[in-house]
């Protein structure tokens, strides 16, 4: 039985694999990320599993909150991130995936807002700007998939006959551009950053302590798996090996950009995302009619 048959018969397998494996895979990716970053700075860096240790540790700590309802939002964030991934890897409608992803982020932002802290407030506002900046590109990418494959279902998209990147190069580049925002990588890590632990205190994450922060980090691992899966869709099962290589390459480039650039102001981030979406995404979409 080929991979596709398996997925058709048991979409649950994809979902289960996602739920179990992506924290591990995401953790290892982040660990490698940290090691490479360290090497680029002439350091040795932490163990590969360090991001997972961090999360485990956070769950060991005292549960400290500002008020009780704060954790509720973050729990919602985690749950909806998992649902998003389950929908994505379960082969369902990609627009639903995108909307569920938005819902998850809104929950995170509301959690930050509800703390009532000035630092978290600024972080939440900035996260919102990021959300607004990337949303058009993601929807356009989904529509691009539809235009080529005739279906919104991720299962149909991934099993398309030829790699989608051949006809969607603009959308691909545009998506990689906003990926920087989504992965919270410099120069677009404006709401909260992996490196800058002291700037605006921690932005969005300032008021999340212990297991709350652990849930945020865990959800971020899930999100990374979803985003990289999204990139893989551009290649699909028509060119799986190349797809995996490109996904790895893209992530390496992100690490490089992360280390080589300094943060920009939100205005530049926001405007450039929208312009890239318009120039690469929309034009690519229109060009599909000419081909």
């Amino acid at each position: 039985m080929s991979f596709l048959d398996v997925m058709n018969v048991y979409p649950l397998i994809g979902v289960l694999l996602f739920i179990v494996l992506s924290p591990l895979v995401g953790g290892i990716i982040f660990g490698i990320d940290r090691i490479i970053t360290a090497r680029m700075q002439g350091r040795v860096g932490p163990p590969v599993l360090q991001p997972l240790y961090d999360i485990f540790k956070l769950f060991e700590k005292e549960k400290m909150v500002i008020h009780e309802s704060q954790n509720f939002w973050i729990f919602g964030y985690l749950i909806f991130m998992i649902i998003t991934g389950a929908l994505f890897f379960g082969g369902s409608d990609i627009l639903l995936v995108i909307f569920a992803l938005t819902l998850a982020h809104v929950a995170l932002i509301l959690g930050a807002f509800s703390s009532g802290s000035p630092y978290a407030h600024i972080g939440a506002e900035r996260e919102l700007i990021q959300l607004m900046a990337v949303e058009p590109m993601i929807i356009i990418a989904a529509v691009g998939f539809y235009e080529v494959t005739g279906s919104f279902n991720t299962l149909d998209i991934i099993s398309s006959g030829s790699p989608l990147i051949l006809v969607l190069p603009g959308i691909f580049i545009g998506f990689v551009y906003i990926l920087t925002v989504k992965l919270r990588k410099s120069p677009f890590d404006i709401s909260t950053s992996h490196h800058a632990h002291q700037e605006l205190v921690r932005g969005l994450n300032t008021e999340f302590a212990g297991s709350t922060l652990g849930m945020v980090e865990l959800a971020h691992l899930y999100e990374t798996a979803i985003l990289l899966g999204f990139i893989f869709l551009f290649f699909g099962l028509a060119a799986p090996i190349i797809g995996l290589i490109v996904v790895a390459l893209i992530y390496l480039i992100e690490i490089f950009v992360d280390n080589a650039t300094s943060r920009v102001k939100w205005g530049l981030m926001f405007k450039s995302c929208w312009i890239v979406t318009a120039v690469l995404g929309v034009v690519n979409l229109m060009a599909l009619y000419l081909i």
Partner: protein, 644 residues
């Protein structure tokens, strides 16, 4: 049929009686009674005609048709009189034009002698009936409590409450008339009544700005009225006659149907406050909140989109439809963007209404089956969620004496019930498993198949617009949730009738999200299937299950609060560790010279990027351009038909 006529006439008579009743308990209970009867009446209608498909009724017109002509002339004269009195000559001229057109049509073509069904009902009308009946009467009930407080707070406003309630109920009756009329001449009369009522309600406060905005609304709607009258004139002059009946018109030759649809659709654009006519709806904010709620959710603007959606099949796959779709899409994008820069809660709601109606118009302009399906869902969800939001904001305004979003910080602590309802309403407006998002999802599905390159451009507009929507709703939600210090909840959040209406609407919003597959299956799909002669279900079962699953998750999530409330250590916000945790002076910063400064939080508004004036200008100009092109396109069709 009796129940239909009852629904049209009962609010009218009830309104007339209210005109005679003095302020006080008696009138309030009568308003409640009339509201409940209207509500039950519309539900009974649902029960009576549920699953029966389209039904047409013949009414003996010998007596009614002259009455309608007289009523139309009376309304025209009243408008002319008012505008002359206030020296608004342009309105007078336009109203005179419109009256002349209609009278000429009546006298020369005698449309009344055609035999046809004057009234009808189908699933779409039924949906509209329930929206008008339930939400409209809830708003009227809310108004009894609200207006009392309003008059107490606004001593300078003359107490014209009998007139107010008369107009509210007249409005409902006219709306019922619109959705039941098969005869376009009748439809036009009810249409004019809504124009008139909205004008008088907007100007209720009677001060200068109210009159000004009232007349502005009147002007734009009269422009639409002229177009409507022009459309009626066209149908009578150039077609076989029986086309003045909606069901005939929709199936008549594309020349007639399309031209008529363009004219009447144009009128719909003015009424549903699409760009370039959107300004009247924003101006209408000067009216008391129940009026805004009524105008925005169940009446007026819904009348506008109702006719456009009715004509949607005519728009399918042609450039005129695309032009409408673009007006709608541009309205969606521009109005959402303007909403970002507004801090006045009612204005944000107004712009979001305009935006959502834009989405409806865009769907109707595409005119495919899926698009119409999405449009009707949008109408339903928008009606419940928006009325809920308006009423909640109205109650907050009565308590806090401010409708500024910045003043709503930590509302969840001060007014938990109302704030929770607001959150439900907002979630309903843009979040995933809830209503509007399903419709947005459906509309993207519908647009991908629209005429190429236009479909893609529309999608791009929707994609940007949806990012913007997320922004302005979330920041408002955040503001409500942002509890900075412990605060005691208010003793009473709102008067009893207000609370009753708000809670009911909140429950309805959740209910609509839960049973929307049922609504779709039993009402919307039968409607689209008859119109488009198809059988395919529009929403695949698996997606339905996913959405329902998500709704259930959202509803169950609060249960986790019980877990999270236990065993937590409570600590204050981190303030650079400068301020003592223990002495309650948290949320301050140490300024220079040892002065403690209170931390002020406020949202981003991006005046520079999303400034109201700038975007309004862009939206108005681009849509005017499209309207010019629209009529240029239509003129292609007219001569052909006339020659033939």
């Amino acid at each position: 049929m009796e129940s239909i006529i009852f629904l049209i006439l009962f609010p009218l008579f009830a309104g007339v009686i209210m005109l005679a009743l003095p302020n006080g308990r008696g009138r309030d209970s009568f308003v409640n009674f009339a509201g409940v009867v209207t509500c039950i009446g519309s539900l009974y209608l649902l029960y009576e005609y549920f699953g029966k498909g389209a039904q047409f009724f013949f009414v003996d017109g010998t007596f009614i048709d002259p009455l309608i002509t007289v009523a139309e002339i009376a309304i025209g004269l009243f408008i002319i009189g008012m505008s002359l009195k206030f020296r608004k000559y342009l309105i007078a001229v336009l109203a005179a034009c419109q009256m002349a057109l209609i009278t000429y049509t009546d006298v020369v073509f005698e449309p009344s002698h055609y035999a046809g069904y004057d009234l009808f009902i189908d699933e779409f009308s039924l949906i509209m009936t329930v929206i008008i009946g339930v939400i409209g009467s809830l708003i009227c009930i809310y108004a009894t409590g609200y207006m009392k407080t309003y008059q107490e707070h606004h001593k300078d406003v003359k107490d014209k409450r009998p007139l107010f309630f008369f107009l509210m109920f007249l409005f409902l009756s006219a709306m019922f008339g619109i959705v039941f009329s098969n005869n376009i001449m009748w439809l036009f009369l009810f249409w004019e009544i809504t124009t008139l009522c909205s004008f008088l309600l907007i100007a209720y406060a009677g001060d200068e700005i109210s009159w000004k905005n009232g007349f502005w609304a009147l002007l734009l709607n009269v422009i639409g009225g002229v177009a409507f009258a022009g459309g009626i004139f066209f149908i009578n002059a150039f077609s076989s006659g029986s086309d003045i009946y909606l069901n005939e018109l929709l199936t008549s030759s594309p020349g007639i149907a399309l031209v008529a649809a363009t004219f009447i659709g144009f009128a719909g654009l003015t009424k549903s406050a699409q760009f370039p006519f959107s300004s009247w709806l924003v101006g209408a904010m000067v009216a008391p909140t129940p009026v805004s709620a009524l105008l925005h959710s169940s009446t007026m603007v819904k009348a506008g989109v109702y006719v456009i959606v009715r004509f949607a099949p005519v728009f399918e796959a042609n450039l005129i439809g695309i032009a409408f779709a673009f007006i709608g899409a541009i309205t969606f994008l521009t109005a959402s963007a303007i909403a970002i820069s507004q801090s006045n809660a009612k204005k944000v709601l107004a712009y979001s209404t305009i935006a959502n109606l834009g989405l409806v118009v865009a769907c109707a302009g595409i005119g495919t089956e899926e698009a119409v399906w999405a449009a009707i869902l949008l109408i339903i969800f928008h009606a419940v969620a928006k009325s809920l939001l308006f009423l909640s904001v109205g109650s907050v305004e009565n308590q806090k004496h401010s409708k500024d979003i910045e003043d709503m910080g930590g509302l969840i602590a001060a007014m938990p019930k109302v704030a929770l309802m607001m959150l439900i309403g907002m979630a309903g407006m843009f979040l995933a498993p809830f209503g509007m998002l399903i419709s947005k999802w459906a509309s993207i599905h519908a647009f991908v198949n629209a005429i190429p390159p236009f479909g893609m451009l529309l999608i791009a507009i929707i994609a940007y617009g949806s990012g913007i929507t997320v922004f302005f709703w979330t920041k408002w939600m955040g503001r409500i949730l942002e509890v900075r210090t412990e605060r005691e909840p208010l003793e009473t959040e709102a008067s009893k009738p207000e609370m009753r209406a708000i809670l009911t609407l909140g429950a309805l919003t959740v209910l609509a999200c839960l049973i929307f597959p049922l609504i779709s299956y039993t009402m919307i799909e039968p409607y689209t299937h008859t119109i488009y002669n198809s059988v395919s279900p529009l929403l695949s079962l698996s997606n339905e299950i996913i959405m329902l699953f998500m709704v259930v998750v959202v509803i169950l999530l609060p249960v986790s609060l019980f877990h999270f409330a236990k065993g937590r250590t409570l600590r204050r916000q981190y303030m650079g560790a400068r301020v003592s945790e223990v002495s309650g002076e948290h949320l301050r910063f140490l300024g220079s010279m040892g002065v403690m400064k209170e931390a002020e939080l406020s949202n981003y508004y991006f005046e520079g990027i999303f400034g109201e004036e700038k975007l309004n200008r862009a939206g108005v100009l681009s849509t005017i351009l499209i309207i010019v092109m629209l009529f240029a396109l239509v003129s292609w069709f007219v001569p052909l038909e006339v020659i033939m």
